[in-house]
Homo-oligomer: 201 residues x 2
Amino acid sequence: MLELAILGLLQEAPMHGYELRKELATKLGTIRAAISYGTLYPTLKRLQTAGWIGTADTADSDTIPPLTSKRGRVVYKITAEGKERFAELLAQVGPETYDDAGFGVHFAFFSRTDRATRLRILEGRRRRIEERREGLREVLARASDRLDAYTLELQRHGLDACEREVRWLEELITNERSGRPPAASAGETPPEPPRPHQDRP
Amino acid sequence: MLELAILGLLQEAPMHGYELRKELATKLGTIRAAISYGTLYPTLKRLQTAGWIGTADTADSDTIPPLTSKRGRVVYKITAEGKERFAELLAQVGPETYDDAGFGVHFAFFSRTDRATRLRILEGRRRRIEERREGLREVLARASDRLDAYTLELQRHGLDACEREVRWLEELITNERSGRPPAASAGETPPEPPRPHQDRP
DNA sequence: TTGCGATGTATCGGGCCGATACATCGGGCC
DNA sequence: GGCCCGATGTATCGGCCCGATACATCGCAA
């Protein structure tokens, strides 16, 4: 999951670890507060040995604006194989695509995903949440006398969140089917339709 | 976190692993779908070597109804030290008490927590969510032109969830302060006020 | 009696986290 | 000039938790 996110961000621009973490936090703020360095650096190492990303330690710092100075910052950039890998990860959907983290990351890169895949993911997610919802309803109906008031309140709140998310997903699915992008709900971002852009020579 | 949950459930009744998992799923269904065995069994082992719980392999199966028969099921029960440990974990609040998992588990055992602690936890959680909310508002306000429509939609949805949760917490805090337990919102559970019961000879 | 699904216990590799330890830079302060 | 301090930045370590996998037993039906 992190792999996908890192590859996606490095596709936009080369970065060093610190920046990557910050970007990750703003782009996936809903999903995870901030990625730990104890996760980030090992993952970067892994991606590097796999050949998906490469380093260019500061020397050719023409891409990076001279933020501070010329020191041991390690700038990571995606490779050609990395771009292929990104596309592969982005397109392949599995069970883990539908849990909270997986869905969030995929959704965050929807503007790079073709519509068919978008729909598949949204529907899979909806099904997942519906299952969770049914489970909660079951408990509320069957075991409500076995549980104390606080536990019940927790279930009710969870059920409410599920119903809300299902409705949100329904809306997104409808929009997706009818051709127009997200919701463009309150306020910002009038233009920029999501082109399923693929840039490779 | 799991430690607390297991201790709490075993305080209600002795159980074997399978049951424990099922109970965990119904009580914490909102938080985590179902605990993995790869987590459960090592944790049980850890609790056992620590002396918080003990086993009684089936032989004295008078407590457990003869669900299937007399085989290698390992029944776990809490020890006196385990009960102390549970009370300790329940009362001690830290930063991890306010993240999703931690808060969920603590809340699920609120009927065994004194009111002062309940209020402390609810307020801490509210603060935590408010911070997340502010972070999202920041992003939405500052970086909305740097992000694509889907990412923005994700942030908006996350922000909405935050606001909703804050409102929920406000309500719980108000109820808590005014003396009466949870919400008793729609439908069930008219009686059963939460007594901070402690049962030990 | 053979096979099969539900029940039940257990391990293994790996992802991710929090805590921690380092270095270096820019700038304020004496 | 010289000094400390907070922001920037890279990195490791122990530990929790997960999914996949492997077993072993029981009740039941073909």
